[in-house]
């Protein structure tokens, strides 16, 4: 017993807990808030699925079965893939300037994918059956099957990569990082493929979405890295070191590039929607001047693309306040991008062209508070895990000051 008490693991846990509890009032307030959101979200989801029934709890229905929670899931997994891709630039593809953000990015990628899985588990009706039949009865032509399986492997590889990064085994970590990138891209493009291969849905169908998802993942990943790196600096209450600041500056440039790419894709999506049938035309109309116009122009375009781009331009990779504002705006608006992407394609009734009474109005969707609470549960978990991670892993201090970079260099170069 005495040996166990003195074991390095127990000591490390005790140290980590000490760091958590001595985090200061602001830290502990946020940690409590996120924890409460997480618990409330889980309770809401469990109650909705297993007690009340989703039909009575969620705002989804026969004509719009996928909505807020799917959008939240997409938001998190897009962020995870983006974090994985952006962090891989340094520790997988050898650009040393990106190395200082590697550990935190990989941990955030893990946290966001788990947040996504948490939300999806509280969205699908029979999550326990999924665990069994995904393996017992696979459908290899299903994008969901591929996405689920590949994301699981992605998560495992990334967890290994994170452990290896912590132990400064950069060369082996780079190998698992590469696997994470490959499986992440494959899984993420399959997420796009889920929608892109539905030949009964004009707005989603086509090769656009897998490409869009990958590029917007990089945009989301960049925003997450900027936000959480600056937040981590505030938690540590010390000035960000030069290497990390330089990495962040590069990430902000990457974010601008990705915003430009998403603007480009959005413009072309809109232009192509002017042709190709009534459903696409009506959807475009609703998006730019109908019920979703505010969401599109204000939340997506202004908050997600135009303002962050200029804020990052003004920040020049140095002014962290502006970068933080840009990242917060981007993350906030990307959430609505996902929601619009999911909901808009379902608003035109499938029998619209028949001109029948039953389907003469466009479908509308409004989330219920129970649904919103589940989405907040995901956000709560993400925030809580990040705050805990910062203290448990001591703000990844080893990687700063060039020590880890030197280690990586020494190990990866013969």
């Amino acid at each position: 017993m005495k040996n166990t008490d003195n074991s390095p693991v127990i000591t490390s846990i005790k140290d980590a807990l000490n760091r958590v509890f001595s985090g200061g009032p602001v830290y502990l307030t946020f940690l409590s808030l996120f924890s409460i959101l997480f618990i409330a979200g889980v309770i809401s989801g469990v109650y909705s699925l297993f007690i009340a029934g989703s039909r009575h709890s969620y705002g989804t229905y026969r004509e719009i079965p996928l909505a807020l929670l799917i959008a939240t899931y997409i938001f998190f997994v897009v962020a995870s893939t983006g974090l994985c891709l952006v962090s891989s630039i340094g520790h997988v593809f050898g650009n040393r300037d990106f190395l200082p953000i590697a550990k935190r990015s990989v941990l955030l990628a893990l946290i966001t994918i788990v947040s996504g899985f948490l939300v999806i588990a509280l969205e699908i009706e029979n999550p326990f059956r999924m665990i069994i039949y995904l393996f017992a009865s696979p459908n290899f032509s299903s994008n969901i099957w591929w996405m689920g399986t590949l994301y699981m492997l992605y998560m495992i590889f990334m967890a290994i990569e994170f452990v290896l990064l912590l132990s400064e085994s950069h060369r082996t970590a780079a190998f698992f990082g590469l696997l994470s990138v490959l499986f992440g891209v494959a899984a993420h493009s399959n997420l796009g493929g889920i929608f892109a291969m539905l030949h009964g849905r004009d707005v989603w169908y086509g090769p656009f979405l897998p490409v869009y998802f990958i590029l917007s993942a990089m945009m989301t990943g960049s925003a997450f890295i900027i936000l959480f790196s600056i937040m981590a600096q505030k938690i540590r209450s010390i000035k960000m070191d030069e290497a990390e600041a330089k990495a962040l500056s590069l990430v902000s440039k990457l974010a601008m590039l990705m915003i430009a790419a998403v603007v480009f894709l959005t413009i072309w999506k809109m232009i192509t929607m002017t042709t190709g049938g009534e459903t696409r035309g009506i959807t475009l109309h609703e998006m730019i001047s109908g019920s979703h116009a505010f969401s599109f122009w204000v939340l997506e375009v202004a908050c997600g693309m135009v303002i962050p781009f200029f804020l990052l331009l003004l920040a020049g990779g140095r002014k962290h306040g502006l970068m933080l504002a840009a990242a917060v705006l981007m993350i906030f608006s990307i959430f609505f991008m996902r929601l619009d992407l999911v909901v808009l394609a379902q608003i035109v009734p499938l029998y619209w062209e028949l001109g029948v009474k039953e389907f003469s109005q466009l479908h509308t969707y409004a989330p219920t508070w129970k649904e919103i609470l589940v989405a907040f549960g995901g956000i709560g978990f993400c925030g809580m895990a990040f705050l805990l991670g910062e203290k448990v892993f001591n703000g990844f201090v080893d990687i700063r000051g060039g020590k880890a970079v030197e280690n990586g260099k020494a190990e990866s170069e013969p």
Partner: protein, 248 residues
């Protein structure tokens, strides 16, 4: 080499080499579109197909029996007994439907100003729902072509609901799985009945249910004629439905 579809000499030379599998694949592909009508696409099982393939070929359909339904829309009076029949045969809850009768009003039309369009699962030959389901909870029955549910496997992801171009699926709370029309297989056909509930109860003989692979069947005869146009809904989705619409 330029493909000439009406070069009969070459077509018959080519046809002799077509394997049985190719022929079956052709039929799985669906019927030939010959026009557009009333929100659907007109198809003909005979015209173009018989020009391309030797006679006798049309007798072979991918399933035996190959269950299909012809809906004669101009006969429908909108009484919706079919819906009630379906509900009572298949225990459909009040928040869902397996079949529905849609109503279209055209005030400016001369004479009849209203028509009814019954809809149900189209039991597609290329079902988007089956491809999308991650766990084979919905599948195409290999014997009769009915798109069925294996409820115990359904994870409730609802992707099949989104994938279906015909809005034919809903989540059934009691079954805790997606529910859909199975041509009354579970409630009637598997018990030896020959017809589906919605067809049996219809007073106007709107819904003709039968076996498309049997030349003696009414469905076969209604489809394999040239006098009256036959159409399907949402041909452009390439789902190859087995619900056909016609007038008369």
């Amino acid at each position: 080499m330029i493909f000439k579809p009406f070069d009969t000499e070459k077509i018959f030379t080519k046809s002799e080499k077509i394997s049985e599998m190719d022929r079956r694949d052709f039929l799985k592909i669906g019927l030939v579109v010959t026009g557009v009508f009333a929100g659907g696409s007109i198809v003909s099982a005979v015209s173009a197909a018989e020009k391309l393939f030797p006679s006798g070929f049309m007798d072979k359909y991918p399933y035996k029996p190959h269950y299909s339904m012809v809906i004669r829309v101009d006969r429908c009076i909108g009484c919706r007994r079919c819906v009630k029949g379906c509900v009572s045969a298949n225990a459909v809850p009040d928040y869902g439907w397996r079949t529905k009768v849609l109503e279209r009003e055209v005030p400016q039309a001369i004479g009849q100003k209203r028509e009814f369009i019954p809809v149900l699962c189209h039991q597609c030959n290329n079902p988007p729902c089956v491809r999308a389901c991650p766990v084979v909870a919905t599948y195409k029955n290999k014997a009769n072509g009915i798109v069925m549910m294996d409820s115990k496997k359904c994870i409730g992801c609802k992707i099949c609901m989104v994938a279906c171009p015909y809005n034919a699926r809903y989540f059934n709370e009691e079954k805790h799985a997606i529910d859909k029309c199975d041509f009354c297989f579970e409630s009637r056909l598997s018990h030896g009945e020959k017809n589906v509930a919605c067809s049996v109860i219809c007073p106007a003989d709107v819904r003709v249910f039968g076996d498309l692979s049997n030349p003696q069947d009414r469905v076969y005869k209604l489809i394999h004629q040239l006098q009256k146009p036959v159409w399907v809904l949402k041909k452009e989705t390439d789902a190859k439905p087995n619900i056909f619409y016609m007038k008369g």
